[in-house]
Symmetry: C2
Subunit: 409 residues, 2 copies
């Protein structure tokens, strides 16, 4: 992937950049996600290769960090892939949603992957109980959780397969652990190539390659301007990146929406995911004429497939649109993207950059994921917050537990 | 539906409220969407009732206002409905997306509804040409467009059925015209009940019922506080409302992101759609601890179906979660919603309100849609902008046309 920044990069900040780079270097010792690109995945590959061939559906029961990453990668690659097994995601307590999903899957051909880092996620355990009450065959289940969690102990007690999440990797940074790799590998996606992409970006940043100054400059710009440009939109010209933007929203929002260290200040950058050209007919008006509080990052696929064309036919009264005849859809969507970039740059006061992925494949999405994880860490460091916790979600959980207890009395 | 406002309603604004109410009353003469709830739909019903029974797929080719409304309503009602015909939506020029959709539908059992208000939407006409080149049977197509548009003239020239969009109804306000009603009616959804819901809210606002002061107060609050609370999130506790939030994003963003009248000021309110409980594990942290720039509107379904329960089983090591045993999923999701509302209200500085829909049905979604259309009009009026145009999206279209022309030389 390439990344071009169209906003003014701040000069004379060499010391800031140096310190930032060193801090992130240092953080690698305590924050586990940095080192995932070079992990040993042989046990996952072996597990996937020897997996029951009759199983055609992999059903992930997980929520938030336990589902968004695999969902993003699967949906990006599904259209180009010979999918061995389809992935399904149970991620809601909405009874209509659960019953719809249950109707859709053939239970006999399904294997369930129960994912909860803490091992006690209310949604996940509720749904698991519902399924487990129907089928107590422990071969039907694989568990992914922290080593030593209650779910880990339960899984071992019934003799199911368990994978662990490294304790230093947080949920929203866990896509490149077993959380993402196990279901993706079972679906037939090449997880080696995925990690190769992540490794490429890691190297291009930490070994002072072409990503070092781009990522530092972008993080510094976002932080310096957070008070004005508090909303960071991704405008991806690929339908397959829809769930990637949901993964991004969690990563960015949950990491960067915080009370500052040693302070009472609430700060945070708001992520928004858009898909082109669809959202040209929706959110674009707000970017073009609305309040100047948004940055825009376009994501473009260089080489689209399949190469099919708008037919060269003239229709009565629609001759004005013959201008489209003979053009490949892949070229059209990229010209649409370029046109919007140009229109936005003409406004002069909307910070814009562009990420170009060479094609729809494992390496591209691996690169994109690691790029956004690094950018999140960099901005979090500059904002002087704890990027890796999520204390703000605890209050709601405590209130729910109280309500549940009151019900039981 | 009910709506409870938890923020401080501004007092002593009787004159402002009176003027606002009168302006919106007045606007009904020139803005067509207000009067859609009481339109005559007999021709649509007749068309749907006599429709070819062998057709099982209705494929909508449209983008933005031409697809988001039907998609929102269809996806909300699909799980409870005996769907007569499935709806599909072609809304992208992404070639992978087009080829995926074509694989999915059985062309022989499909009917295509081509929707473009202007009649010249690049995406829609490109995709239509692609399909039409494969099958020139005019019975396969229904067109929905402005009377007299080039697409209208084309449709008549090949002898296909055409429905018109009233010229005073803009694309993003057109869900209750043929644009939404024709595909929904073909899928088996009760469009009479949908309009009944809209009529209920219309009456409750214009005839000084229970919605009058709620809508006026909410619009005044959003406008007065737009500089601080520039982001308006909807947090819907129903998976079926996912596409409703996309419809809302277009309605709100494209209507309210504008340059003020007689001014150079860019203003706008940024819409964000969230789904609970999923986004408790994503965006919630940012609401709870991040910058105080967001209002939150919760949407809750009072009576969930189907009424199934978390089984009353105890699993070794997971006994702490027995607290969930025997609870209906529908009650759990509502308790989750109530817990988050309570946690947010405890923060004291996050403007919050709550919309309660009695159940998943046509009337509820009709009410919700009309409620948001009215709220958009009210806020647009107070912001002193033109709520109904979208000049900001023209620049990109012009640049694209230039690029296409250069290609042809």
């Amino acid at each position: 992937m390439k990344n071009r920044l169209y906003f003014n990069r701040l000069e004379n900040l060499e010391t800031v950049k140096e310190e930032l780079f060193n801090s992130i270097q240092e953080e690698q010792k305590s924050i586990g996600y940095y080192n995932l690109p070079k992990q040993d995945i042989s046990s996952i590959l072996e597990y996937a290769n020897s997996f029951n061939k009759k199983i055609k559906n992999i059903v992930v029961v997980g929520i938030g960090g336990s589902s968004l990453g695999a969902k993003a990668i699967y949906n990006f690659l599904k259209p180009i892939q010979n999918i061995k097994r389809r992935l399904f995601f149970f991620e809601s307590t909405d009874p209509l949603n659960i019953s719809e999903l249950i109707k859709e899957i053939n239970m006999g051909k399904s294997h369930f992957i129960i994912i909860s880092k803490s091992g006690g996620t209310v949604e996940t355990i509720s749904i698991f109980k519902y399924i487990y009450a129907k089928d107590r065959n422990s071969d039907r289940y694989t568990f992914i959780t922290d080593s030593g969690s209650n779910l880990d102990r339960f899984a071992k007690s019934i003799g199911s397969k368990v994978f662990h999440i490294p304790s230093t990797v947080g949920g929203r940074f866990s896509v490149l652990t077993a959380v993402g790799l196990v279901p993706l590998s079972l679906s037939g996606i090449d997880i080696k190539a995925l990690l190769k992409g992540a490794r490429r970006i890691k190297k291009a940043f930490f070994e002072k390659g072409e990503m070092t100054s781009i990522l530092l400059d972008k993080a510094i710009f976002y932080t310096k301007n957070h008070a004005q440009y508090g909303i960071n939109t991704i405008f991806a010209y690929s339908e397959g990146l829809k769930y990637f933007t949901e993964w991004y929203v969690q990563l960015w929002g949950e990491s960067l929406g915080k009370i500052q260290k040693n302070s009472i200040l609430n700060i945070g950058l708001t992520p928004i995911g858009l898909i082109g050209p669809k959202d040209q007919h929706s959110f674009l008006q707000l970017i073009m004429e609305g309040k100047r509080d948004k940055s825009v990052t376009f994501i473009k696929i260089e080489e689209h497939k399949p190469p099919f064309k708008i037919p060269d036919i003239t229709l009565p009264h629609l001759e004005a649109l013959d201008i489209l005849n003979g053009i490949e859809f892949g070229d059209l969507i990229n010209m649409q993207c370029d046109s919007i970039i140009e229109a936005i740059l003409n406004q002069k006061d909307i910070p814009t950059d562009e990420i170009i992925l060479p094609r729809v494949d494992e390496k591209s999405i691996g690169e994109l994921i690691y790029y956004y994880e690094l950018l999140t860490s960099l901005v979090g460091h500059l904002l002087n917050i704890n990027t890796y916790n999520q204390n703000g979600v605890e209050a709601g959980k405590i209130i729910l537990k109280e309500k549940l207890k009151r019900l039981k009395r």
